[in-house]
Amino acid sequence: MDLAVIEKVVATLGAIVVFVFALIGLRGEWPKNGLDDIVTKLLLGLMAFGCLLVLLATAGLLPRGGA
């Protein structure tokens, strides 16, 4: 089967894994409140959001996602 499909499958699986581990890491960070912890929380959250974007894109759920 052609390359694009493989890529999408890999991306999807990878995104799920990364997303889960990002959330776990986020939960570990949650109680801490140092400046670095707060920034880390923000950035980890955004990274998880990035994974969601990847999932939506590979699922073709974004208006112009597919291409």
Binding site: E7, G14, M47, A57
Partner: protein, 213 residues
């Protein structure tokens, strides 16, 4: 930095209980350096924002159509599928970096080394992927049109940050092998982690703007 600390009046072997004293000194210095580093990241965000603004402005208010038409033909859109894989690689490296730091804090260095290795590996993979992407992006080159200009300039700047980040992480790794950092004193690693996360998050924005929008 050390000189400044001393000039601020921090002195070793001066107070009665030296260790507590020294720990206080470290804490204060660390807080200041951390704040400074975060501020630096903020101003770096603004640098990217400037170019992102340029891209959005050119795309929405200047270009008659997007992707722009060059020599009578409309340029193709970029290939999302491959970029998605590449993004996952970079995000993954961000997460592994996080766990590397956590493990270092809890002093299980074996897993720290594994995670750190993965982080650097994935970072390098991402750079390779970018190289592949550059070779295959059919958007008329860097200086051909506004699409190429904004794409290659922004991702180029980001790629440069990633490259610098990989070097930075290698240095940090070497330093940990040399025992520069302890479980109480690891500001260098904190800064490295924050920088690496920052690079990943910038990519979230770029991925959306260039591949999904």
């Amino acid at each position: 930095m050390s000189v400044s600390i001393a000039k601020q009046g921090y002195s070793l072997g001066h107070g009665h209980d030296e260790d507590a004293h020294e720990q206080v000194i470290y804490q204060e210095t660390r807080d200041m350096r951390l704040l400074g580093f975060v501020l630096f990241l903020c101003s770096d965000v603004v640098l990217f924002s400037a170019f992102i603004f340029a891209y959005i402005y050119l795309r929405t208010t200047v270009a008659p159509s997007w992707p722009p038409i060059v020599g009578g033909h409309q340029l193709p859109r970029l290939d999302t599928a491959f970029a998605a894989v590449n993004s996952v690689v970079l995000f993954g490296s961000g997460v592994t970096m996080h766990y590397a730091l956590e493990n270092f804090k809890h002093a299980n260095l074996r897993r720290y080394n594994v995670f750190m290795g993965f982080t650097i590996l994935l970072g390098a993979m991402f750079l390779g992927g970018q190289g592949y992407e550059y070779a295959h992006a059919q958007i008329g080159g860097w200086s051909g049109n506004i699409f190429g200009a904004s794409f290659f300039t922004l991702t180029g700047m980001h790629g440069f940050h990633v490259f610098a980040g990989v070097i930075y992480l290698l240095v940090l790794w070497y330093q940990t092998q040399r025992g520069v950092y302890t479980q109480e004193r690891y500001f260098g690693l904190t800064a490295g982690t924050l920088y690496w996360h920052f690079v990943d998050v910038i990519w979230v924005g770029l991925f959306f703007l260039f591949y999904l929008w």
